[in-house]
Symmetry: C4
Subunit: 125 residues, 4 copies
């Protein structure tokens, strides 16, 4: 099975916002803001995330590990250490890894009775 | 008619998720996760797709061919060989071609009574 | 006023699909597939668009002009020469300009009673 | 805390459109068109935005400042100087900064009773 790395080691997502409520409490339908992290290579990825706010100091690093040949769809909603990200608040993130990864940003918003979705490749360099 | 290739030969889509149900059974409204593959050149593109999961080994290659001067809007839902991708499961994909192609990722989610859509250019290198 | 060009001269949008119906006949709510073309420079942009299909020969060129310092939000639905693009059909596009432009792809889908939207920067090179 | 800059100094968003009405008057649900600007570095970012229209001269510069280590989710709807951007009108934007920033484009459309969302990384160079 293929284990050739792809991606970059430094990414940014300028958009960031956790909708403050949801019309469903099923986990797959709860409003969420996600960074999808793909580690296609053969070495573990040690990832550090910094959260930037509009009116306070940045927070982090939030540290996660992505095993070789695995993907992690990380919900910003579920980050706890060093502190939760408050819902209903504008933020951005910088995502740094010690090996190349690919990062994509997705939001599911279920505040209304129907769903809204958006996604984009993150900015990598 | 133009036959000048455009694109890259290695792409990744870090997001991947097939919604587990649909509010319609019309094919165009069934929830789907798609990789749009454009082969603008004059040689057949032999494409190999590897699927990465959160908690198991990658799967593939899924092999498809895109004729010269053609597009293929490939639904991940409909891949069968070597195995179907389970719905409701986080995944990522790496898409490799022997000639340059352009890849874009789109999801249509019809779990609610109305539609949600999202799209992004894939990450190429 | 600024007239410094930005962008590239060759772009591709691998996704393409004109929803076959709409829940409204107001122009701004009719389902549409759009290429937004920004010409930030001081020379007229002569743009040629080629449409690629899944199962037939490419079609085009569709020719449009974008004046210096202007934007054109071009609806694929409204292209007529050399032929309309059929709704409900998978396609891709290659967009070529004689001066640098920036291209972004947007779809508004109003087949359901509510709206769905998606957008992405096109792939440029 | 990390203060390493990321990004580019010149960005374009070819899409631009402020939906002309909303189904809610709560600020977070009012239809809006946003440029998210991340300044991850340690110097203030002085940002100048030029708005391009389909049938009139460009307008600007709209000037905003993003503090070091801060994000600004700027609603085009709320720009006033030198003039508001009319709703229901096609536009594009070029965003220039004196230090590297990252730019992402997002629209929330609440014209229907439910929400539609779209986002993309802007085009940077």
């Amino acid at each position: 099975m293929q284990r050739k790395p792809i991606g970059k080691t430094r990414w940014a997502i300028a958009e960031g916002y956790i909708p403050a409520w949801s019309s469903s409490d099923r986990r797959e339908l709860v409003s969420h803001e996600t960074a999808c992290l793909l580690n296609a290579g053969d070495r573990e990825a040690h990832v550090a995330i910094t959260i930037f706010y509009a009116e306070r100091e940045p927070s982090g690093p939030y540290e996660v590990t992505v095993a070789p040949g695995r993907t992690l769809h990380l919900r910003f909603n579920e980050l706890r250490d060093p502190e939760p990200i408050p819902p209903g608040t504008d933020f951005s993130s910088v995502i740094e890894s010690d090996v190349p990864i690919v990062v994509q940003h997705t939001r599911l918003d279920s505040r209304a009775s129907d769903l809204a979705l958006m996604t984009t490749a993150a900015y990598g360099e």
